[in-house]
Amino acid sequence: MNVMAALGAVVVIAAIGALGAQASGMRSLIGVIVPYAAITTFILGMILRVARWASSPVPFRITTTCGQQKSLPWIRASWLESPYTKLGTAARMALEILLFRSLFRNTRAELRPGPRLVYGEEKWLWLGALAFHWSFLVVLLRHLRFFMEPVPNWVLALATLDGFFQVGTPELLLTDVFLGAALAYLLYRRLGSPQVRYISLFTDYFALLLLLGLAATGILMRYFAKIDLLAVKQFAMGLVTFAPATPPAVGWLFYAHLLFLCTLIAYFPFSKLMHMAGVFLSPTRNLANNNRMVRHVNPWNYPVNVHTYEEWEHEFHDKIKAAGLPLERE
């Protein structure tokens, strides 16, 4: 149900883009107004969301420790998995953000007759996630060639590297393959595993299908239904220099692609995609396990009702005395 609804939503977006490509008024709407609105929503939304997270304090240092603590000098502490220094914590975060360290731990449990629970390696999710995120980043960076003149050398170098195998014309870019394959795998996994399908919401499918639509239209334009890239570049340069030109009539794929992108970035701050920013703030990962070394201050720490020693001694006075234990007041 959820997946069909999401598919429907994505098809509607593509249809609007495709239809809009036919009329020049609509082209201006999808090509100029929507992108500016989407970017504005993205920037404001991101700021708002991150500010909102940041406005909630971190009252306790609740690091999840995944290795040996720093204690006795002759016990080797795990500076990375149970970091106790700023550097260690930064390294732990870097591994988490760049290489998805925690996801790399993933295992799959299986109940076999016996009964016997066994845990197997399960790296596919990690691999799929890593392939998707990194390829998507490279694809985004490659797109800078449409927005910069002259195109920086590193962007050109990135594209060259990406087409390393020099297969076909235009040459096949590895990240296109990885991106498509990773997204397909992630969708397959979401639908194929009964457990993951059970927990999946409309929004989970929507994000995936939106990305798939974005990638598919891009790939189609690059390899199959080639469009006038010069016109696209001219138009893109207009957008970034705040002097938007009349959107060119370059076919429906381009407008579907653009509308997918705009939907994605406008939707981003209101969705789970905010994990991109949130991962930096996760208190179980970005705090050092130095709790007993350095006091963590809770800004809203308030006095509470406690049972004081005096009250306790008062209540049990005679029993304490009879037991021969020392008293404050005889």
């Binding site: 995944c66 449990a109 457990q195 007993r292 234990l325």
Partner: protein, 539 residues
């Protein structure tokens, strides 16, 4: 074990296929053996907690306060503003499902709402409906869900079906910690009086008498003296165990089960022997006579209320630093909450072992040291005369308790001790120890008899790993450093892996420790004949 508990072979028929009905349907069946009974009104009244009344989870009418919905939503708002963890964990989950089969309750029950992701979604769906624009506008399409009385019942069922062990948080790519979600969920439930007696009675007792069991000062003294007498019978050495001694160097805090329950008691004997042997100037306290803190399973405020006694008593007794016994959740509180809540401990000194001179620099702010850190340091410096052959009748494996492993990183200290005092030691499989350790299935206040079936389900992954080393290496002893483990693992072992006993690390130190002036030992602390003595008897 109650009579209705299914046999292991029945229980292990676990169906992992999700049901037809959507998880958004909150209806829950309160089946005997899978939930805990409600808190008695007297306990809530004593603590000044809201809505004390007679009720049970299987009742149709939970007698919630008239404005329960407002209380919950305002409580959520307040906590979203106070805890970045809570707000963030409500927002950033992508439902990748990596956590799903990491939960012992899911593995043991197959109930999809025991997948950590879904356990959190139970509250996230309400968050989205009432606190996000998309949820307000689009409801279920944006993953939002109405807050109804059935949702409260569902929360109660599943937030008291999580042991806050944090195993899922190790695997989550964003470090989302279900313990944090469950803790806040329970805090919310407490606002409308939906809590369980197995947690609230120890809390009330601890508040009043100083410990979970409600042991009063004279009872405390009797227990400790009983241990001293028994130790003299076993070893011929009379140890000193001072109580409320002002000016002692160290205040020693142990979980109350150590002096009142078995097999914890043998751990206490072990502590007493070590501390006597090295001549540590220490004291117990009858006021701060509990290391454990069931406030952790109630609310952050309750953690602080109960924990306050530790520093207060250290200050009153004018000790220099604090030593803590073997207990899991106690150490989550001591390590991650105490200093922040009730510190700074500037009236104490940085702990230094008077025997080895080691300065415990890693505890320089909190000024509290774990007994395993302390004893490992003694052994390393050769300060204990140990005869590991006295543990030869035990083939030992080590169960990392959740909190020392995942909220502290105390992994090597107990292992170093065990390897020094036992000659037969075998690790369980890698995926089931250290930071990946499996919970006993009864932590976070769920270790009660009426919850027996759920406990056996939750403990299944742990038991399964023990069975592996039992079959492969003949392991007959599961060592651990947690009072809840010692209370609940014996039942779990009896159910899944008969023939495996449970004991604390310091019990084995006690067995191996050769004391000055001791008489020849023929039994261990449990009264079991030593292996070499047995051989001699047969010869």
């Amino acid at each position: 074990m109650t009579e209705t508990t299914p046999r292991p072979e029945q229980l292990v028929r676990i169906d992992y296929r999700p049901p037809k009905k959507s998880w958004m349907d909150p209806s829950v069946e309160f089946r005997k053996g899978t939930f805990c009974y409600s808190a008695l009104p007297k306990n809530l009244e004593y603590l000044g907690l809201p809505n004390p009344r007679e009720w049970q989870p299987f009742d149709k009418d939970w007698k919630l306060p008239a404005d329960w919905k407002r209380i919950i939503l305002e409580g959520m708002k307040e906590r979203l503003e106070k805890y970045r963890s809570f707000r963030l964990f409500m927002d950033i989950c992508v439902r990748c499902g990596a956590c799903a089969d990491k939960c012992h309750y899911y593995l043991g029950s197959g109930d999809p709402k025991n997948m950590p992701v879904l356990r959190a979604e139970l509250i996230r769906s309400v968050y989205r409906r009432y606190f996000t624009p998309a949820g307000r506008l689009f409801g279920p399409l944006a993953g939002g869900r109405e807050l109804t009385e059935d949702v409260i019942k569902e929360w109660f069922y599943y937030f008291y079906q999580c042991t806050e062990c944090r195993r899922c948080s190790v695997f989550c790519p964003y470090g989302i910690d279900t313990a944090e979600v469950t803790m806040i969920g329970r805090e919310l439930l407490n606002l409308i009086g939906c809590n369980i007696n197995w947690v609230l009675e120890p809390v009330a007792n601890c508040h009043r008498t100083g410990n979970h069991l409600g042991v009063q000062p004279h009872g405390f003294k009797d227990s400790i003296e009983f241990a001293v007498d028994e130790l003299e019978e076993i070893t011929g050495v009379r140890v000193e165990a001072p109580i409320m001694k002002k000016g002692a160097e160290v205040l020693f805090i142990v979980p109350s089960a150590d002096y009142f329950a078995s097999p914890h008691y043998y751990t206490l004997l072990g502590y007493l022997m070590v501390l006597h042997e090295i001549g540590l100037d220490y004291t117990f306290s009858a006021y701060a006579s509990e290391g454990g803190n069931f406030g952790l399973f109630t609310s952050h405020e309750m953690i602080k209320r109960l924990n306050a006694k530790v520093y207060a008593e250290a200050r009153r007794l004018k000790v220099k630093w604090i030593l803590g016994g073997e207990c899991g959740h106690m150490w989550r509180v001591m390590h991650q909450y105490m200093d922040t809540m009730n510190g700074p401990a500037d009236f104490l000194e940085v702990p230094v072992s008077p025997v080895t001179g080691t300065r415990f620099d890693h505890a320089r702010s909190t000024r509290m040291v774990h007994i395993c850190e302390f004893t490992a340091d003694l052994i390393r410096h050769g300060k204990l005369n140990l005869d590991p052959s006295r543990n030869d009748h035990w083939n030992v494996t080590f169960h990392d308790s959740c909190n020392p492993a995942r909220a502290m990183g105390l992994l090597e200290e107990p292992r170093y001790i065990l390897r020094s005092v036992c000659r037969n030691f075998h690790e369980m499989p890698e995926n089931t120890i250290r930071e990946q350790t499996f919970c006993c299935g009864s932590g976070a206040g769920l270790g009660t008899d009426e919850n027996a079936e759920m406990r056996m389900r939750g403990g299944f992954p742990r038991a399964n790993a023990v069975r592996y080393v039992r079959e492969r290496h003949g392991v007959n002893m599961l060592a651990c450093v947690c009072a809840i483990d010692k209370a609940t693992l014996p039942t779990l072992m009896e159910y899944w892996v008969p023939g495996v006993e449970v004991g604390g690390v310091h019990e084995f130190v006690g067995n191996a420790l050769v004391m000055k002036g001791e008489r020849e030992r023929t039994t261990d602390l449990r009264g079991e004949r030593l292996k070499n003595k047995e051989a001699a008897a047969h010869a």
